[in-house]
């Protein structure tokens, strides 16, 4: 070799000004697009999962001779699916060409509105789901066996009085707990992404200050 590596280095960088620094302009754009894309993918997967789950409950209801419960749960899940699809259509319209702060801010607004919408839906979903399961159990052969074992059980409209009071009390409680339960559910699936979004927005707001 003719030159030492030190010479190659020195001669190659005799004029450091020739080194042009790239412009700092696109990193946050890339990060925000990546984050939203990932969220969108997971959201879509979750909707597909709901389709399978609704079919499963419908099938299970028919199979276990609790058809009405199966249909109710199926319809509940379909309502989640329809709402989710509507929200997905909105997120798909987010404009990549916005600056990254505006893009992420729009996404965050979408997310907050979606969470609010789902919280309201779940205030109906959880109690009705619970009632459907309880009703399914009662009107299934299990319920019949209970009636045979306790023939003196006090009933109202064919339902055992005290267990029905307990079931309805739990359903009412679920209305109030729906928000908390939904948050737990969301945290399981989206927590890391929501934290990233929060950090990224905080970073960008600091940069804008």
């Amino acid at each position: 070799m003719k030159k030492s590596i030190e010479d190659i280095w020195k001669e190659g960088f005799i004029n450091n000004e020739k080194l042009t620094a790239p412009k700092i302009n696109d990193l946050y754009n890339q990060k925000s697009i990546h984050l939203v894309d990932k969220f969108r993918r997971d959201f879509k997967l979750n909707l597909i999962y709901i389709i399978f789950l609704s079919l499963f409950f419908l099938g299970a209801g028919i199979f276990l001779n609790a058809v009405y419960s199966g249909i109710v749960i199926f319809l509940l899940l379909i309502s989640l699916l329809v709402y989710g699809k509507k929200r997905l259509d909105i997120i798909n319209k987010l404009d990549y060409n916005d600056n990254s702060y505006k893009y992420l801010k729009s996404f965050d607004d979408w997310l907050q509105a979606t969470l609010k919408g789902y919280t309201l839906l779940y205030q109906i979903f959880y109690p009705v789901f619970f009632l459907a399961i309880a009703g399914g159990v009662w009107f299934s052969p299990i319920g019949e066996k209970v009636m045979q074992k306790f023939p003196d059980l006090q009933t109202v409209l064919g339902l055992p009085l005290y267990p029905t009071i307990v079931v309805f009390s739990i359903a009412i409680l679920l209305i109030f707990l729906a928000k908390r339960l939904y948050e737990l559910d969301m945290n399981l699936i989206y927590k890391s992404q929501m934290d990233k979004l929060k950090d990224l927005l905080a970073d960008m707001e600091e940069l804008r200050a």
Partner: protein
């Protein structure tokens, strides 16, 4: 990031940041991403700078850490070649510099282990063993021996490419 901060505290060190980022990336696109990430991390971490060391030493250390972190995150990016000679297409942007010898040297540097790349870059930038050790987080007594080994490997890689 304010342009004042960039101009005052980062731009004077841009040459070394560029050199470090070049050594850890194989394409112009990656290089630009790495450079931007380094600058942003310097800006974010500026309050953590303690004046135990020079600002420049701190910038080197942070640049290396960011590059090493990004490198780990990158998938499907072959970092090492089994052969001891330079592969013909070792880098997508092997013509990043107009000087052919320098290009070959960069390609060779990219064949080194991640830490060895950092050591040789700092050595070539004429940093003291003490400063190199401080940046890498090792004992300065071992740096000299390490540099000799890295230089031998680089010479071997370059020799096999040239002749």
């Amino acid at each position: 990031m304010s342009s004042d901060f960039y101009n005052l505290f980062i731009l004077p060190h841009a040459p070394i940041i560029i050199k470090i980022c070049r050594a850890y990336t194989n394409s112009q696109e990656d290089f630009e991403d790495y450079y931007q990430e380094v600058c942003l991390q310097i800006w974010h971490s500026r309050e953590r700078f303690k004046e135990h060391s020079e600002w420049s030493t701190w910038v080197y250390r942070l640049s290396l850490n960011v590059c090493l972190t990004l490198l780990k995150k990158q998938k499907n990016n072959p970092q090492h070649f089994a052969s001891d000679s330079l592969p013909p297409e070792a880098s997508e942007d092997s013509k990043a510099f107009s000087d052919e010898d320098l290009n070959q040297l960069y390609i060779a540097i990219r064949q080194l282990k991640e830490i060895d790349r950092a050591v040789i870059l700092l050595y070539l930038e004429e940093r003291s063993y003490q400063e190199i050790a401080e940046v890498i987080g090792t004992n300065p007594n071992n740096i000299g021996v390490r540099i000799q080994r890295i230089k031998q490997r680089l010479k071997k890689l370059l020799h096999e490419k040239v002749y």
